[in-house]
């Protein structure tokens, strides 16, 4: 069998698998008692509906807008803070228990407080996203500093680099690959939280779409359409970050053993 043919057959298989899953889904829908759960075809119809009503673009933009703001804000604050905390062991010792307690508190648990402080709307959602990204990014930065081999820092000092230069020419490139991975994972979290935040605290966006479609008329085809869109966009965000990851670290070279 020529390599090209083999390649094609191998590539078809995962697609075939997904196709089988879709068929099973359709069968399950047809045979279900409630007739409420939509099948794949109805979902596609739902997406088409959304596009026609002009609602799709508006909601996707709203969700992305909130994610961007919350995420960037968190990154800009958490990364320098984390790098500093990682650098000074005393600082870390002091703050670590506090961080460990705050970390497991689901950002969603903050919802009432967010609404209290910001009312129902964009700000509350952005605040929630900020919260959910801040601590993970902080920890990523702290961890990244720990993993910089002492060798590099010593070499920098050996060559007489000033502290500022040390940070920009040694520390920053050394932590970059790990930071980017952390950013990617946290972006995924932000995407999850925005959906939840929109379900409860705002009046637009994909999360809102899901609850609204159900509440205002049991339009489960729109619900599932929303889910699919959320999944697709989440995937795209992840893939974009991965290409970024690869671009930077290919040039740099991982020093993992």
């Amino acid at each position: 069998m020529r390599p090209k043919e083999l390649n094609l057959r191998v590539r078809i298989r995962p697609i075939a698998f997904i196709a089988i899953l879709l068929v099973l889904w359709q069968i399950a829908t047809v045979r279900s008692r409630t007739h409420l759960l939509p099948g794949p075809w109805e979902t596609v119809g739902g997406v088409a509906d959304l596009v026609r009503e002009g609602v799709l673009l508006k909601y996707v933009t709203a969700s992305l807008f909130r994610v961007t703001w919350g995420f960037v804000l968190a990154a800009v604050l958490a990364i320098p803070a984390g790098l500093t905390i990682g650098w000074y062991p005393r600082l870390e010792m002091a703050l670590n228990p506090l961080i460990q307690i705050l970390r497991p508190i689901s950002p969603l648990a903050w919802i009432p407080i967010a609404i209290l402080w910001f009312g129902v709307g964009d700000l509350a959602a952005i605040f929630l996203i900020f919260l959910s990204c801040f601590l993970p990014l902080l920890l990523t930065a702290i961890n990244a500093v720990h993993r910089v081999p002492a060798m590099y820092v010593n070499a920098g000092r050996n060559f007489g680099l000033s502290p500022v230069n040390l940070v920009f020419r040694v520390l920053y490139p050394a932590v970059l690959p790990q930071l980017i991975t952390g950013l990617r994972i946290t972006l995924g979290v932000a995407w999850i939280v925005v959906v939840a935040a929109e379900m409860i605290a705002v009046n637009s966006g994909l999360g809102f779409l899901i609850v609204d479609a159900r509440n205002a008329g049991n339009r489960y085809d729109l619900v599932v359409a929303g889910m699919v869109l959320i999944g697709v966009i989440g995937l795209l965000l992840d893939q974009t970050m991965r290409t970024l990851e690869r671009a930077k670290s290919m040039r740099w070279g991982y020093s993992e053993d």
Binding site: F17, I18, L37, A94, P104, P112, M199, G207, V211, G231
Partner: protein, 259 residues
């Protein structure tokens, strides 16, 4: 000896100092802004006491933990074999993986309406959501654990005459265990976050429900914050348990650089 006692002193004194400062800041900002609604540390403490006296607290904690146990347990039972199988048979992984990658980014929270549709309001929905959210990290942990087993170990296993299943059990599984445990730890963390979310929306008991309920029926923000703190502490306890697990000698070798 003196240096060591200084060090131990620092380890406890510094965080204590930081927390006291935090609490003082909190208390002070309440006074300074004169807010009537946001609770002061004292108010939270009273709120906790009240919950304990009413006996609700333990019931809610038990509910949340139970749902996590069921959902996480199911995810473990399904996820570990799935992860190991996918890691062991790259051909199967190649077929199944794209489907998994598409399902993964759909936030478990987005599944809520569908879950309610399928299971109604109640425990089953919460357990289902927890299962969904814990399943993927466990599978990923299993797959990368198996994939990262150094070829040397497999070679040595075959050299000593191990058959396929024996190789899997005696070489691949122990070698993959550290990464599997990391996946489990991640999954448990996610499960704990999701249970709170699920309880806020889809059930009527548990810590998440407490938060929503306390606010809705009387703006009891002291209870809200109290509940948040408890959630944090339980999550912390879970994390500590995992760290202990990671220190066991037969897996400790896999965690060389943990902070």
């Amino acid at each position: 000896m003196k240096a060591q006692t200084m060090h131990t002193l620092e380890r406890f004194a510094l965080p204590l100092l930081a927390m006291v400062l935090m609490l003082a800041l909190w208390e002070y900002s309440i006074r300074w802004t004169g807010t009537k609604v946001f609770p002061s540390p004292m108010a939270v403490e009273h709120g906790l006491g009240e919950l304990l006296r009413k006996g609700l607290l333990w019931a809610y904690i038990a509910d949340s933990l139970r749902r996590v146990a069921l959902g996480f347990g199911a995810a473990v039972l399904a996820g570990i074999p799935a992860g190991l199988a996918l890691g062991w048979y790259p051909a199967v992984n190649q077929v199944v993986n794209p489907a998994l990658q598409m399902l993964r980014p759909i936030s478990p929270i987005a599944w809520i309406p569908v879950a309610i549709l399928l299971f109604g309001v109640g425990d089953a929905t919460a357990v289902f959501l927890i299962f969904l959210s814990a399943f993927f990290p466990i599978v990923v942990g299993g797959v990368s654990g198996v994939a990262n087993v150094p070829a040397i170990f497999r070679r040595a296993g075959r050299n000593f005459g191990l058959s396929g299943p024996q190789l899997l059990a005696r070489v691949v599984f122990p070698a993959a265990l550290p990464q599997l445990i990391t996946g489990l730890r991640l999954a448990l963390g996610i499960a704990w976050v999701v249970v709170v979310a699920a309880e806020m929306i889809a059930v009527d008991s548990g810590l998440g429900y407490l938060i929503i309920d306390a606010r809705n029926s009387g703006k009891r923000y002291d209870l809200v914050v109290a509940a948040m703190l408890i959630i944090g502490l339980i999550g912390l306890a879970m994390d500590v348990c995992f760290r202990r697990l990671q220190a066991i000698p037969s897996v400790r070798w896999g965690f060389r650089s943990e902070s």
